[in-house]
Amino acid sequence: MSAKSTTSTLAQMLPLLKKEFLEAWRDRRALLTAVCFSLMFPVLLAGATVVMVKKQSEDATRVALIGAEEAPLLAEKLASPALEVDRLAQGDPRSLLQDDYDLVLVVAENFAHRYQEFRAPQIYVYVDSSDTGAGRAQRQVQERLAAMQQMVVNQRLAARGVAPQLLAPWQLEVRDVSTPSSRGALILATVPGLLILTLFVASLATSVDTSAGERERLSLETLLVQPLPAWQVIVAKMLAVASLGWLGSLLSITALVVLMPMMPLAELGIQQATTVAGVICMGLVLLPLALLVAVLQILLALRSQSFKDAQTQLSIFQIAPVMLLVIIDAAQIKLADSWQLLPLIGQQQWLKGLLIGSAVSPLWMLAGSLATLALVVVAVVFGARALRRETLLSAA
């Protein structure tokens, strides 16, 4: 294509682009959806981080022990760095659970007497299962009591000349090796998927309006009788839709960068590795994907029977790729480098690398972005064909 014909094509497209951008950016409902979703997830993420750190700082389980004088040894051995035990002479378990105790242990009144007679005295455990911390507290106390019980059994068997090992062919001990840093990394791993989801959500309303909406209002027919090639119509619509999706994700990235210094990341052992260059790079790697998402949404909406039908189909459509990314992440599937050529997967890998400051290959980024752009071109060709379908017209 010569420079003159390229200039002429662009000049021909400019009014069409202006129309699509004015229509898209003046749609308050679509803008509100895009801005709200784009800001919502960084704010939620920051909130989740704060809660996680707060939870860790309040790690010790508070236990109220009633009747400790009946079992002084038990009271002494139960306390540990993870279990803060308060000895109380008396009290109502329900009130104590409401007063910040995670769990209440009540030693039966005749505990010492029955214990000495080997008659299995009772210990009552009170928990409020509707409290989210109750499960952890119950597990900790039960594990501690079971260990003490085993110790007593061993002593009793040894006193009778029986080797305790005979009753325990092996010993099981669970050790949690997770560190605050690795738990924090789990939070950051969700960011690429959420940024990609933002591309879909922020552009959904506009993609439906510019395709199924125009079809339903019959303004598409007016556009199609203008002396413009169908590919220009699709490209103009794609750029307008992608602008909302892309700027939505840029808004999310900006919000993240602004919120990160306020997030207690250091307490999770995470060093903020995002640089200005990294942020710009994140924006750039999302651009080809924004175009692909936009044109695919337009294509799908053009195939729909109505505006409502398009909304339903696109809502389902945006869940599928994000689910795929979640599965790949959750299953911790190790992907070969060549997988970076695939749209979505490539962008997810690069965004993750840029966020945590690990090495990202510029060559793979370039190759993957070009592969995504090649798919955009194919989708535009299909879109231009779709515009020539007679069933697009009303009553045709």
Partner: protein, 249 residues
């Protein structure tokens, strides 16, 4: 001139146009009459290049829309069976964008916009966004969009549907002025008095064919009916109007 030569079109195997042929002479107003489902809209859409005929040929100012759709569309102004407006654009923005799409350069653009604003009495609406416009206002803007690039051929699909008296009068005045300026006009309608008053020639369509053509007076002579409405019923339905059938011999 618009020339339609033996075009055929089917939807889902059902024939809609059967060897349809007619000509719309330059500088004349031609009306397309037909019952619902007669094939009027399909015919107009083939002329605009929105639909492809199964066989036959259409020429708009000598250009076949099936071969060079963009060339043909540059010669056409089209007002469809709905206005196709964009509610978030102002009238000025809308007309400017569509004029530019039609290839009007900066030199001629402002003059063209000023002309349609004056001709179609759009000054009060000019800077308003089009959401909430009345039917008459929508039709005026739609007509302005079709005329802004001064097309040689104008196609209108049921342009008076839903319009009040004043809007119909403005439309009629505009079409007559355009004809005087040499524009070729083809429009479909169900409103017989309007067709009788406006058109130089009438094409009556039935089941995808032209079953009658001529001036309203010529159709009256052919069918022996006094009014265009009676002539249409006789030609389209193959029988005399009911009130004539019950009259005593």
């Amino acid at each position: 001139m618009i020339s339609v030569e033996k075009i055929r079109k089917s939807f889902a195997g059902k024939p809609v146009l059967r060897d349809l042929s007619f000509e719309v002479p330059d500088g004349k107003i031609t009306a397309l009459l037909g019952a619902n489902g007669a094939g009027k809209t399909s015919c107009l859409r083939i002329i605009c290049g929105l639909l492809q005929a199964k066989s036959g040929r259409v020429l708009v100012g000598g250009i076949d829309p099936a071969v060079d759709p963009q060339g043909a569309r540059r010669q056409l102004g089209v007002v469809g069976d709905r206005e196709g407006l964009y509610e978030r654009l102002t009238v000025a923005e809308y007309l400017k964008i569509f004029a530019q799409m039609q290839g009007l350069g900066s030199g001629e653009l402002q003059g063209a916009l000023d002309a349609v604003r004056e001709e179609l009495e759009l000054s009060a609406l000019w800077e308003r966004r089009m959401g909430g416009f009345s039917q008459g206002e929508r039709m005026k803007v739609s007509l302005a969009r079709a005329l802004v690039h001064r097309p040689q051929h104008l196609i209108l699909d049921e342009p008076t549907r839903g319009l009040d008296v004043l809007a119909v009068r403005l439309l009629r005045k505009t079409l007559l002025r355009l004809r005087a300026g040499g524009t070729t006009i083809l429009f479909s309608s169900h409103v017989m008095p309007e067709v009788a008053e406006l058109s130089d020639s009438v094409l009556v369509m039935s089941e995808g064919r032209v079953v009658g053509r001529g001036t309203p007076a010529e159709l009256g002579r052919e069918t022996g009916c006094e009014s265009l409405e009676d002539s249409f019923v006789a030609l389209a339905y193959g029988r005399l109007p009911a009130r004539q059938e019950v009259e005593p011999a």
